[in-house]
Amino acid sequence: MPTMNVIQAVNDALRVAMRQDPDVVVLGEDVGRFGGVFRATQGLYDEFGADRVIDTPLAEGGIVGTAVGMALYGLRPVSEIQFADFIFPAFDQIVNEVAKYRYRSGGQYACPLVIRAPYGGGIRGGHYHSQSPEAHFIHTAGLKVVVPSNPHDAKGLLLASIRDPDPVIFFEPKRVYRAAKGEVPEGDYVEPLGKARVTRPGTQATVIAWGAMWHEADQAAREAAAEGLDCEVIDLRSLQPLDLDALVQSVSRTGRAIVVHEAPRTCGFGAELSALLQERCFLHLEAPVRRVTGFDTPFPYTLENEYLPRAPRILQAIREVVSY
């Protein structure tokens, strides 16, 4: 199996999908001849041509709105939003159109499309190249939301997303675009949406994370192990649909849960997970579900490492939760 980083895995998934299905097209700013500012679409223009690898004008609403029409007509468009921070001009199209199209037409029409966007901090991007807006989309019924943490999942989940009958918001952890490397099967395979992965079994607490923060959670769990604290780590991978069974099973066993995310704490997805675990594991909980998250501020520049819920803060939370 070849070794790839996340961006190569994304690129490979797009290539496999486009080879296999002529209805798959990609569109976005700079995705054409240039291959995207992160090079996710590199080489696709040469292989599939300007008709299927479409440089668009600078308008995210158009990138998504046009994709809606393409999807209705039978294509499988994959829209790239250059940074997740720039998804908001398309927000109306996403929450009022994409998410509701099937429902509102009584199932006459479907709108299967993928919106890819690099998300998250840790690359010195400041306010507008660091945001993690997943909670907005999880709150919007009709959308699926996927966040891989590693190359293998990036490829398998992206292929599954492109073939999914529902619209998928696919957030890519740009902080580990190049840093996270691993073996990736050649050719076609899918990782099913809605399945979490227990990446480290443990007994004393469950640490739940996704995307770039999974790496921090894993690091913290390894450091905790060195202190004799045995944590289970779960990589959520798909936030909607959510693998609630996996979480409930783990937390019912460990009695303690820590949720990690980069987005601001208030009304982040950690709140939903905390609420769900409390509803489903109430009698098993030995401590409050703990949230280790970004703070309730815009994403900063110089102090971004203080802002991010990195391993040292997660480790402290593990200690506190286990000794609650």
Partner: protein
């Protein structure tokens, strides 16, 4: 400020030569007309055989009767809301009849006439308005938000202008697939201010996507007159911002609209790109049944436009041409009334509510865990207390 909805249409001008050099412009957007006030028309500009002309006239009559009846039904509390197209029938049927039936329609919310023309059964449409157990949309949307896939009539949403980029995407997809399909997007004058108008037109012009952007300039966006929507003297000239072809047509003139639409379709299908087609018409009634226009517009303004009623205009033309006589017209109207009445009886006979489980279907292709769980939760709640879902027995 020149108020185009107060003055009579500008006479048609000979087309000026275009100075086609970078940085130079010479374009004209005269109001194109076919049907003259005296009921005549240049025979070369009459695009259809008499029977087809009468058929379209019948559709306009039916659409008018339907709108009037539904406004009454809303007042009686039998439907919750209605938004009609009274006064705008020539724009709607002229455009809808001007494209091919394989073309997709991306409606705003006044173009149910186009859906009916495409074969949406009247009973089905009425069930949609009731949101009853036979509503194709399963009671999920307000009245006048229909979708009709068999007629390639897309789904209506309330947010203004969102359908415009959809039309572009669909036409783009068709071109990629090698289909001869031109998308027809409808929107109002107010929509030209919206984000998606800008994006949709720019994307389409850039790639010469086969779309007809049919702007129903009916003079108003609820209470805001066209002149307070944009300082541009015409809406057609907005095409220039996108390097796109634009035309301005008398929207109360069925034949002028039809001809312009056909030209736009031919251009689009030939790969010459999209057209912005401004149809200058008038909203004779309130914005919807929620609106009372007396609060913001003088009645005499409406009177002027009532004299330009597109139905009267077409009728005058057909009578003068001999395609219709008074008796045939009366018969046609009777038939229409009867047809409506029958459909209404049939639609009202269906159960008023779709079943509970439809609430949770179609959010996704298959319900996720939360939709399944929540259906069970709701079923249990209803079983435990019949007041759940019954507005008259709980809360404020």
């Amino acid at each position: 400020m020149r108020r185009e909805h107060e003055v009579s249409p500008v006479a048609r001008h000979p087309r000026l030569a275009e100075v086609d050099q970078p940085g130079f412009f010479l374009r004209e957007f005269p109001l194109q007309t076919v049907l003259r006030d005296d009921g005549t028309a240049d025979p070369a500009e009459v695009p259809l055989a008499d029977a087809d002309l009468v058929m379209l006239y019948r559709w306009m009559v039916l659409n008018r009767a339907l709108d009037e009846r539904m406004i009454t039904l809303q007042r009686q509390g039998r439907i919750g809301f209605y938004i009609g197209s009274i006064g705008e029938e020539a724009t709607i049927f002229g455009t809808a009849a001007g494209v091919e039936t394989r073309d997709w329609i991306f409606p705003c919310y006044r173009e149910h006439g186009a859906a009916l023309l495409r074969g949406l059964p009247l009973v089905t449409y009425l069930c949609d308005l009731f949101g009853n157990a036979r509503d194709v949309m399963k009671g999920r949307q307000m009245p006048c938000h229909e979708a009709w896939r068999p007629g390639r009539f897309a789904s209506i949403s309330s947010p203004i202008a969102t359908q415009i980029p959809h039309a572009v995407g669909a036409a783009w997809a068709a071109r990629l697939k090698g289909d001869d399909m031109v998308a027809l997007a409808y929107f109002g004058d107010g929509a030209t201010s919206a984000h998606d108008f800008h994006t949709g037109l720019n994307f389409a012009a850039l790639r010469k996507i086969p779309v007809i952007f049919a702007c129903r300039n009916n003079g108003w966006a609820i209470s805001v007159p066209r002149e307070r929507q944009t300082a541009a003297e015409t809406l057609a000239q907005k095409a220039l911002a996108y390097g796109m072809h634009g035309e301005r047509v008398d929207g109360n003139d069925l034949l002028a609209v039809l001809n312009a639409t056909r030209r736009a379709r031919a251009r689009a299908a030939a790969g010459e790109g999209p057209t912005l087609l401004e149809c200058v018409t008038y909203r004779l009634e309130g914005h919807s049944t929620s609106d009372d226009p007396r609060a913001y517009r003088p009645a005499d303004l409406v009177e002027t436009w009532k004299r330009k009623d597109p139905l009267l205009r077409m009728r005058r033309f057909l009578l003068r041409r001999g395609a219709l006589d008074e008796a045939a017209d009366a018969k046609l109207r009777d038939e229409v009334r009867e047809e409506l009445q029958r459909a209404l009886r049939e639609a009202e006979a269906f159960p008023p509510k779709p079943p509970l489980e439809t609430l949770f279907e179609d959010v996704y292709a298959e319900p996720l865990r939360q939709q399944r769980e929540q259906l069970r939760e709701l079923e249990a709640a209803v079983a435990a207390d019949p007041r759940v879902g019954n507005p008259r027995h709980a809360g404020t």
